[in-house]
Symmetry: C2
Subunit: 133 residues, 2 copies
Amino acid sequence: MNELDNNMRLTSQRQVILEELKKVKSHPTANEVYDMVRKRLPRIGLGTVYRNLDLLAEKGIINKLEVGGEQKRFDGDTSPHYHIRCVKCNQVEDIFIERAKGLEKSAASSCKYKILDHHVQFSGICCKCLPET
Amino acid sequence: MNELDNNMRLTSQRQVILEELKKVKSHPTANEVYDMVRKRLPRIGLGTVYRNLDLLAEKGIINKLEVGGEQKRFDGDTSPHYHIRCVKCNQVEDIFIERAKGLEKSAASSCKYKILDHHVQFSGICCKCLPET
DNA sequence: CTCAGTGCAAACGATTTGCAGGGCC
DNA sequence: GGCCCTGCAAATCGTTTGCACTGAG
């Protein structure tokens, strides 16, 4: 879905990466995508995975998440939603609540930026980690 | 302001790092803090800067920001507020609007996490970069 | 004196990149 | 057949860490 799809080839690597990412809801890191994809394409290189994830994200076909932690994560679901991260195990899950449009209005009146977007990240403890507290 | 201040020494390095950070509102990276501090303590090591920034953040005396981009940023202002980042020049500024407490309530009912916190990051184009568009 | 803290340099982990060869269009 | 894309390995960048020494308490 985009403007510059001019000469972007549909290689099997690209295809498999996209398929695997759309298949899960775990917001994997590049390395985790690499592991998933390698089961089907054992000779794929990590560099290729990075290149394709970045490219797909640029096109808006997937989302690159900046949710803190050391590694970037990728999300095959591009519908608007927020995220929550478990501070214990670092797992990231979706939060499907209505986007708070009022936030951008408030922000606009408090600064001189042209506001383009916003994202909310919650942090908490997931149900797996709660008992261990 | 904390629980484990037992044997934390007040070294000049620590002191200067904190002073310099409190002095600015630019949310500097570790390297930028290093540059600021080096003017007063030319022999300080980058490792020391990292160690102290992390330590001060753990104590809650400063804030470590996870606002995307490659490097972590640090904020001497610990009062609750949000942030906006310019997608052109990567500058980060404060957004002082009321914290949207309703968000955490909505999120709580949509997932099984124990929610601890939330943060809103806006992205946009700052007034310096707007003309260049 | 003691031990937390330091400077320095080497180690590390995530990501990027240069290059030569390979395969989609 | 051109050139986008790949695999591979080396390079880069931010950050962390091991170690012997220093200085705050």
